[in-house]
Symmetry: C2
Subunit: 808 residues, 2 copies
Amino acid sequence: MKNHQFAIEPVKFSQMIHELKVIHFYNDQMSKLSPALLFKHLLFKAFVNDHSQALKNFRLHGLMATPDQAADNYLDSTQNLSTSAFYNVALQLWHFEVHLDFELDAPLKAMKKMRLPMVKVANPKAMTNKDVLHAWYLMLNTHTKLGQTYLDDLASDGYYKQFNDLPKPLFIDGKAQPVFNTNHLIHEVVYVESPLDTDKDGERDLLKTDIIRPSETNHGVKVPTLFTASPYNMGTNDADGDRMTHNVNKPLTRKQPNNYTYQDVESHADPTKNIPAPRAVKGHAKQPEQAFHHEWTYTMNDYFLARGFAVVYSAGVGTLGSQGLKTTGDKAETVSAESVVQWLAGNRTAFTNPSDHIAIDAWWSNHNVAMTGRSYLGTLATAVASTGVKGLKTCIIEAAISSWYDYYRENGLVCAAGGFQGEDADVLAEEVFSRKKSAGDYHRIKPLWKKQLAKITHDQHRDTGAYNKFWDARNYLKDLKNTKADLLFVHGLNDINVKPINVEHSWKALKDVPVTKKLILHQGQHIYINNFQSIDFTDMVNLWISNKLYGVDNSANQLIPPVTVQDNTKPETWNTYKDWCNSQHHITYHLNDQSLDPESCSQAPLSFKDYVDKKSFAKYCHYLPVWYHDLMSSKKSPLTGNKLIFKTAPFKHDLKVDGNVKVNLRVKSSQDIGLISAMLVDYGTAKRLTISPQVIGFQSIYQGYHWRKDDLREFKYQKHPTPFKKIVVSHINLQNRHNAYKVDDLKPNQYVDVSFELQPTFFHFLPKHQLGLIIFATDYARTLRGNQHISYTIDPKYSSLVVPVYKK
Amino acid sequence: MKNHQFAIEPVKFSQMIHELKVIHFYNDQMSKLSPALLFKHLLFKAFVNDHSQALKNFRLHGLMATPDQAADNYLDSTQNLSTSAFYNVALQLWHFEVHLDFELDAPLKAMKKMRLPMVKVANPKAMTNKDVLHAWYLMLNTHTKLGQTYLDDLASDGYYKQFNDLPKPLFIDGKAQPVFNTNHLIHEVVYVESPLDTDKDGERDLLKTDIIRPSETNHGVKVPTLFTASPYNMGTNDADGDRMTHNVNKPLTRKQPNNYTYQDVESHADPTKNIPAPRAVKGHAKQPEQAFHHEWTYTMNDYFLARGFAVVYSAGVGTLGSQGLKTTGDKAETVSAESVVQWLAGNRTAFTNPSDHIAIDAWWSNHNVAMTGRSYLGTLATAVASTGVKGLKTCIIEAAISSWYDYYRENGLVCAAGGFQGEDADVLAEEVFSRKKSAGDYHRIKPLWKKQLAKITHDQHRDTGAYNKFWDARNYLKDLKNTKADLLFVHGLNDINVKPINVEHSWKALKDVPVTKKLILHQGQHIYINNFQSIDFTDMVNLWISNKLYGVDNSANQLIPPVTVQDNTKPETWNTYKDWCNSQHHITYHLNDQSLDPESCSQAPLSFKDYVDKKSFAKYCHYLPVWYHDLMSSKKSPLTGNKLIFKTAPFKHDLKVDGNVKVNLRVKSSQDIGLISAMLVDYGTAKRLTISPQVIGFQSIYQGYHWRKDDLREFKYQKHPTPFKKIVVSHINLQNRHNAYKVDDLKPNQYVDVSFELQPTFFHFLPKHQLGLIIFATDYARTLRGNQHISYTIDPKYSSLVVPVYKK
């Protein structure tokens, strides 16, 4: 294993001593002990579950301090405690195994290799008491083999459970500790009154809001909130979504040219205008009237429930228990999530039930809120951040959409999220309209909902793929300048669902906005990363959240790097950078017959067709991996004439592509319609990382004392080498050469110039590998699949590829 | 979904009323209500989390009673409560959805289709109060769409949590209810003193035993125990196991013929003989000195923790925290698990720690024990059952080994468990010898352990594949006649790890033993089945365990069928039978060139070879699915000359194979060695069930009130049809034609007669399908892979296949 811990705060020694005293590891009497006996005392305190002297001795006797001596024998006999002995014991307590992970005669060597932090001491053969305390403090805050700090490990053993006098909240090394009792969490429901009336019933939409808070809040502790706006968490109508999924085996059709400017497609819709007055408050309550048990769980939120945070889930307008209609990401959904933040910050009314008008405050809240969540959930966090709402201090935004056009469309084309061909805004609306789960509620709202759904289907303009007012109303990038919250973004470089363009655009939109922002790019697809072994992501979030919501002065802004990128060539490797997608260095390649060359280009035009025989078409539609293989492979296949593959010469040195590769093409279509797809590929036989992180410790992450568990995961090398790997792919409608709303004319067999950027990446090419560009038309995984008789011709003299590269 | 509930106890109406009163659903005042208002009252009580009238009304208004009327409107206005209205509401509360799962104008039709039980009433248009109460009681005990009873669903909502006066334990409809507080479970450790000294240190081996018990036991409740003897639960040495794995790409070698009889290989080993005296007890304690937190979880055990049962885990001799040496299933491991049962039953000493000799009783135990667990865990349950130990009332034995020879060997051959080529008893011993995890302990025990391991490697006779004293010492079938416990077996018909022969032999060995035994055969591999939607396995275990451990008179022996078999041709279908592998009906097929015929046979000898070219050999070794495909397929491949495929004519009707298909062959080898493999195959293109059950409800099973969760699973049809499916495979060494210990001579090119039974099955052939038999030699997934130049010839005139078939 290789450990990357960014969230260890380097605190002063006096602070260490103070904290060790607060958590009862150290007291002034212990200063009289020899270094070895001091260490033994600390160890005995760490053996939480061994209550008798006999068992503590037994445990110590099971640890080796040197290649030949058990820890008890060593510590009871030595005059001088060596760092080797200290770290031999530490490594064993961190769950590393002798012979497997380290050797007893060289613990420090193994620690260096595994990137485990250690203290510097004047005399490694004889640690001082100060050395021991410093090393112990660092040892507590170091990650074990199981991907958590040793202190978290002890906490899950019940370490904190022993003491009645711990401050709550408690921060050690700048991070909130699991000292709250998760056995007595309070689960309650309120109904937030939003400034919306999306279902036009003459009353403001009430939003069911589920709260989980520590019972300690009943006794005076005020806590901040992690709020996850999840449209999914009251259930989804999957079968209805499947039924509504659009047929994508349809031809690309010609669009009428126009001269639209942004003004023609700009949305000014504001669902908070012309709404009914707020309900008259008829009374106030301190206790809600509703509890809940069946819950959707997000492990990172669970982790914080033990550490002095409330967690709130609200599914928003149009979901089970709430009022209103689903809108798939428009302003009404933003306002609905924003309303919950406002209630948590003390600036909005909520009621105990939908009918009695009894108001209830978030009296337990310290008015500081973070939004969390991935995908649609992170999308709503982005949306709410863009409002600048008071109380929202930060968002952890994972794999989020920043503009829905970039989710369902691309450059004037319908372009599906990977794995969801035929889905669109209307399908998603139907899937998450969980009011349907209540047959009674649905019986009454059905006519209105059908109308709403039909309007979404109409307005999304699936027939044109154009950016229009519908999509402009779902573009948060316009408002990100208003952000007041510090933002931590996480995105998978291989996310084929929410494409990386979404985080790229957020990142760029925030460039000059005076908030702190951080970015982590991993090698996964559409996943969470809070259970990895090689990076302390959860600790980073803890440090960050403790800073933002509790105001703990822990250098979070400095310790968390601006940009952290997981390397794609080897497991467990995370590098840090100052920025992303902002390289000033580019390599321009010209297109040759089959090759990319920095100097020369081919003269002769290069052509490819789009049609495949019906049998191959059916096979590719049903077995996408076969299509991907035949596309990228140079071996003969039904796709041989349907693509142009260009490759660089094998690289002599490592090369890191940082940002958006740009494709410039002079191209003609045999018809008055056309689409071009461009895929960037890494060619070179190599062991590559697994697509998904592998479980390396089943349920081995403990989130607190008898609290929830999680699997420990990590990307590993795949079992067998592979010859190539898709990096990114992008698509453009040849009638949208300027932008996604202005429709350009296209004449058969007449060249046009088109330039477009591919999805952003950060890709590490190894020496001997080749960068490949594939130009083709239909993307079976994403675009419409008309299987039309169209051929395309490229003029290489006026075509090129511009590759942004990272340089230190 | 199709519901199969075996564990609904048909109780008398007076008993229903009594139970409904105990759990506060009913009281005498309610008898004055009209049927509709009685139903409304019951529903309001079920809306546990809605504490106000407003919210209860809101909830009721969300349910439809008729196609046009919400439940509140209907119940408040009707004179007559119809069964349709009752069950419309019930279906919604059971999480079925209108239009998706049922229609409001025909709820009973849907219920019939889904096999949901319903009450018979005199007038379906006007239920009486008695009808309502009866239907309500049944409704509580009916499975919801989420695979649990509605009462379990309510309990997880907090239903029982409201009351302080519930009896503990509480049994409703014969099943233990989750009324115990899982927030306050006690986790403690004792050290059981076994009558063993496997590590020869002059002291009896102490066995670390982890106990989880309800805190209610501190206040007088005595509870029974579910005990899982899991050698894995203190950790495993996986890397060491991998390193020790044997090379299987070795030639089959000739064995010296002998005339061994069973007496020559019978083991009389008894590790309890000549052992040190028990430790002198120096004192007694009521409270243990050790707690634990990091635990291995078995969801079915967790389920019972909420219902008045303690759960105990003990890893046995040679594991971390315990003493002794691992032996891979011999009598010492049996005794070590038996010792824990004896302690739980009040018949053995345990200590609070390994050194102070302070004894501690299981004073909280009612002395009744069930053993649970799968694989090695279930194996140890089988082993302990065979001792007839006092206190062991039942075992739930899932996918267990009954004789270790049947795990690592077959008919004189080394024969691996599927997926574990090269593993053997020594490899497993090293993997589970978790004393290695304590570097200190291992440092001291290492020389002895290496010796023990070398002895296992020697004694297992990997070079001969013979049944010998080593394996006889690991054969529990010899002693199953001593069983005093009632046994519930569960095994996967597709278990390629622990082959079905293991459960077959147990089943047969118990035939005349006067205990109650039941068998469930599912379509999975090596899996648990306690989270399926279509069968109430967990309820069955509850009914069974409540009967065996608490003595509840609930007809468990009558309600649970003798043999329950999941059908392989369609999802969610479970049939019941009187017995298994005991059919009196057989079809005998003769071998023809490529066909199986009941009448005639070929005259000409049929030959095949074993060798494949080196490239194909490497491919088959690395990609077993390719080998399986090429073996079963009739298409040309490198295996074309390496097998004989015989198929019946397509069946005209359904046919169920029940038991062991027998192969009779007259065969010769070109050398003085030889092995024959025989595979039974279902030929016929069809949609077949998925290999593993699919998650159909992520974390949707709630095991109690704010207690653990589990995924709901079910086998579904695979996405695409497949042309064939392996049913079973077996192998025999041609030098072991009589049994696994007597070595027969074999001469090159000289015919011998060999008869052997294939692994048992229960397989449903659909019409138009063909039963296929493949005769070949090397099984790349299981046998040694010598890739030797041997050819085999069959004389069909003296060969046949005898197929046992099920007839009603």
